[in-house]
Subunit: 431 residues, 2 copies
C-alpha cells in the first residue's frame, strides 16, 4: 500500500486493505477448515475494504507472532479470530500485546461480567477465566452477547487490530456490530458489492458462451463489473462485483448487469440474489397460494428436507413420502404394480404415477415424483447409475423427464433434487 | 525450527515442517474457501510432516511474492496450489521463479504433451497454453493426468517447493503420487496419524470432564497422544493424533487411546473411525437384518435423507413419511385426531403414535417418529422453538423423549435428526 492510495476522512486514516488471521491448531488438520473468514470478508467488502490475504495459524506462539507482525506491516486492518479462550492454548491476546509492545492489564468490568455470566447459570467463575479479562492497554472492548470472551478493538497508529472470538455464534453478532459502528467510520467510502446469480439446467460451457460477450461491455462501464463463473454439479454460479462511491451506486450497476444476464440466460437463471432454489420456489408457492407434496425414491427425503429448510414452509408443504420400496410406491401412492412390471421402477410412467399419487392422496396442488438409481450399486447397461426420472403434476399440466447425472451417490441425490425443484419452478413460470 | 531438531537420512535433509499457500482471488471473496489444503495436509501428516501454517493469497504478484519468500524462510517444504493455468492471472510459476532467482525456460516436452492433449480432442493448442510449459530451471516435472498444467518439484538447497494445480481432480492424484514417491524419501519417518471419535448425547463439559484425566496418561505414554475437543450443536468430536516410527505403531497407540475413551464415554461415543452416525446405524441394521421406517414432521425428511446417503441403504430403509400437516399424521400414520387434540401435535404421545404408525404401515422392524418446532415461528411459552419429541419403537421395546434444542431452524433439524438416529442406535445396543 502506498501512501498515495490512502484517503483521509475526518482527519483519520481510511482503512482499505485487510488481512484475516484465523487462529487454532484444529484448522491445520485434515478435518477442519476456517469458515469465519467468509463472514468477515462479506462484512468488510460491504464497507469497501478488501481482504488482501488470509493466514491460518496454529496455537503456536512463534508462528502467531510472525503472522501478526507481518500482517501489520502489510495491511491497515488486521482481523484475528480465535484464541481468546481461557486456556494456555489461547495465545491471541498475549501475542498481540507483545507485538504491539503494550502490557496486559486486568479489566475489572470484564471479570465482573464473566463472573455474572457464570452466576446466572448457578456456577462459580473458574479462576482460569480471569485470563479473558486481561487486555492490552488502550484496547476498546467489544461486547460478546453469546460468550465470555470480549472482542478487542486496538488502534495502533493509523492501523487497527481487531480481535474476535472463534465460535461463529459469538463472532457474527460482534463483527456485524463493529462493521456498523467503528469500522464504518473508517471505511473508504467505496463500497464493494457482490451479487451471485445461480443457474441450473445449463452446462458451464453454455453459460460461458452466453455470458462471455457481456464481459467487454461490463469492463467499459462507468462502474465496471467483474465476473467469475463457478461451476459445480447441478448448479452454476456467476459472481458479479462492483465498486462504487456508494453501496447504492454499486448495487444499481450490478442490477443492470443482472438484467443483462437475465436477458441471455432467461429462466435458466433461477436466483439473482443468492437465494437457494428451495427459497425461490417457496416464495413462488406462497405468492400463488399453492401447496406441494413430494414422492421421493432415490432422493430419499432430500427434496422435502430442502423445501422444509425454508422458514414458513409449513404453509405450502403438506407432506412427503419416501417410497424406497416398490411396496411403498404401491401402497402410499397407488402406483399400479403392472406399471412397475412393464416399465421398471425407474421410468417416466412410474415417476408420473408417483407424482399423481401424492397429489391425490395429499390433496395438494402440485405433486412431484422422483425415482432413480443413486448408486453405487443398482445400475444396468440400459439404466446406469445416475439415471433419474422426475415428474411434476399441477392443475395446469404435467411434465416428466429422465436425466443422466454423473458423480457419486450424494451428488446424484443433489442433482436430482435440483432437477425436481427446478421443474416445478419452470412449470409455474411457463405453465 | 532449530538445526538440532533435524534428522538426516541418506545424506539429505529430512522435511518436517510444511506450509501451504493456496493461490486464487476467488478464495478471498465471501463465497469460496480453500479446501485443497485438507487433502494435502492429510497426505503430509501420514508422512510425519506437519503443517505449520496456511496462507490464502489472491492473484496478486506482490502478495504472492511476499508469501513465498516468507514461507521459504520458515519451513522446509512449501506447497503452493493453484495459479498454474495459462492466463495472465496465473502467477505462481513466474513468482516462484523470481523468488528462487531462476530463469523460466520453455520445456519442449510439456509443449508437446499439451499440444497432443488438445489434438486428442480435435483442437489446436491455443498459443496462450505455451505459458504452461515455462518452468524454472532445474525443476522436476510432475505429470498431470487430468489437465494441461504439470506440477513442479523444485529443490532449493535443503528446502523443497512443490507446485500443484488448483482443480482438485488434478491436484489429488498428483499429490498422492508425490507423497508415495519423492516426498516419502525425504519424510521424517515418523508418521503422524489421526483418529476422530464422535460423541452425541453428552455436553461438551461432560465430555471434557470425562476425558481430561486421560490426557496426563496419554502425554506420558511411549507414543504420546495429543487430543483436541471440537464441539458443535448435536455432535462433539474428539481428535486424537500420534506420531510414531511407523504408521502401524501410531495406529496401535491410537487404538489404545480409543479404548480409553470408550471406557469413559461408553455408548456416547458412537463412532471411533470418523464414520457418520447414519453409517454406524446403517451397519448395525444391516448386520442384524433389521428394517426401518421414519415418520418425520419438523425434520422434514432429513432423517430419511441421511439414512439414504449411505450406499446399500435400500436393504434397510423401506419408506419414510414426512407428515408436516395434522391430516398427514392422521391419514398416513393412523395417529388419532383426539390424541393430537389432547396433547398437541408436538408431544410424546403423538411422536410415539407416529413411530407405531409407520412401523405398522411399512411392516418394518423399527419405527421412528419425530415431531417438533423447528422455528423461527410456531413456538409457545410452554413449547418454545426447539422443542422436539422423538420416539422409536422396535420389537424389543420403545422409547420416547422430548428435547429442547437451541440454534436456528437448520440446526434444530440437524440436532433432532442426530437424536433420532442415536435413539435407535442405543435401543439396538441396550434393548
Amino acid at each position: 500500500m502506498t501512501a498515495g492510495s490512502r484517503q483521509r476522512a475526518a482527519g483519520r486514516n481510511v482503512l482499505s486493505r485487510a488481512a484475516i488471521i484465523a487462529v487454532g491448531s484444529e484448522m491445520l488438520t485434515p478435518s477442519r477448515i476456517d469458515t469465519n473468514s467468509l463472514f468477515i470478508t462479506e462484512q468488510l467488502n460491504l464497507l469497501g475494504i478488501e481482504v488482501a490475504f488470509k493466514s491460518i495459524i496454529g496455537d503456536d506462539r512463534a508462528e502467531l507472532e510472525h503472522a501478526v507482525r507481518s500482517g501489520l506491516a502489510r495491511v491497515d486492518l488486521l482481523v484475528c479470530c480465535g484464541g481468546l479462550g481461557p486456556t494456555d492454548d489461547d495465545l491471541t491476546r498475549p501475542v498481540v500485546a507483545e507485538v504491539l509492545n503494550r502490557p496486559l492489564v486486568e479489566d475489572e468490568t470484564i471479570t465482573a461480567r464473566i463472573r455474572a455470566r457464570f452466576q446466572g447459570r448457578g456456577l462459580e467463575m473458574p479462576a482460569i477465566n480471569r485470563r479473558q479479562a486481561m487486555v492490552p492497554v488502550g484496547a476498546r472492548l467489544l461486547e460478546n452477547s453469546n460468550g465470555t470472551a470480549p472482542g478487542l478493538w486496538i488502534e495502533e497508529g493509523e492501523r487497527i487490530v481487531l480481535l474476535l472470538p472463534g465460535p461463529p455464534r459469538e463472532l457474527k453478532p460482534m463483527m456485524t456490530s463493529v462493521a456498523d459502528g467503528a469500522l464504518r467510520e473508517r471505511s473508504p467510502g467505496l463500497s464493494l458489492v457482490r451479487r451471485v446469480i445461480k443457474i441450473t439446467g445449463r452446462s458451464e460451457s453454455h453459460t460461458e458462451e452466453a455470458v462471455q460477450p457481456l464481459y467487454a461491455e461490463w469492463s467499459r462501464a462507468a462502474i465496471p463489473i467483474s465476473a467469475t463463473i463457478l461451476a459445480s454439479l447441478g448448479q452454476i454460479e456467476l459472481h458479479l462485483s462492483a465498486r462504487a462511491a456508494s453501496r447504492e451506486a454499486a448495487e444499481a450497476a450490478l442490477e443492470t448487469a443482472v438484467e443483462h444476464v437475465r436477458a441471455v440466460m432467461g429462466m435458466h437463471a433461477y436466483s439473482t440474489d443468492g437465494r437457494a432454489l428451495e427459497e425461490v420456489l417457496g416464495a413462488m408457492l406462497t405468492e400463488r397460494g399453492l401447496t406441494i407434496g413430494v414422492a421421493e425414491s432415490c432422493t430419499g427425503g432430500l427434496i422435502t428436507s430442502r423445501l422444509t429448510d425454508v422458514p414458513g414452509s409449513s404453509r405450502y408443504v403438506e407432506r412427503g413420502v419416501v417410497s424406497y420400496s416398490n411396496d411403498a410406491k404401491i401402497e402410499l401412492l397407488g402406483v399400479l404394480p403392472e406399471l412397475i412390471a412393464a416399465h421398471g421402477a425407474v421410468s417416466d410412467p412410474v415417476a408420473s404415477a408417483m407424482a399423481e399419487g401424492i397429489r391425490t392422496a395429499a390433496r395438494v396442488d402440485i405433486g412431484v415424483g422422483v425415482t432413480g438409481i443413486a448408486g453405487p450399486g443398482g445400475g444396468t447397461p440400459e439404466k446406469p447409475v445416475g439415471t433419474v426420472s422426475v415428474a411434476a403434476v399441477s392443475p395446469a399440466g404435467s411434465r416428466v423427464r429422465t436425466f443422466r447425472f454423473v458423480g457419486g451417490r450424494e451428488m446424484v441425490k443433489f442433482q436430482a433434487s435440483q432437477a425436481a425443484l427446478d421443474m416445478v419452478r419452470r412449470m409455474l413460470l411457463e405453465p
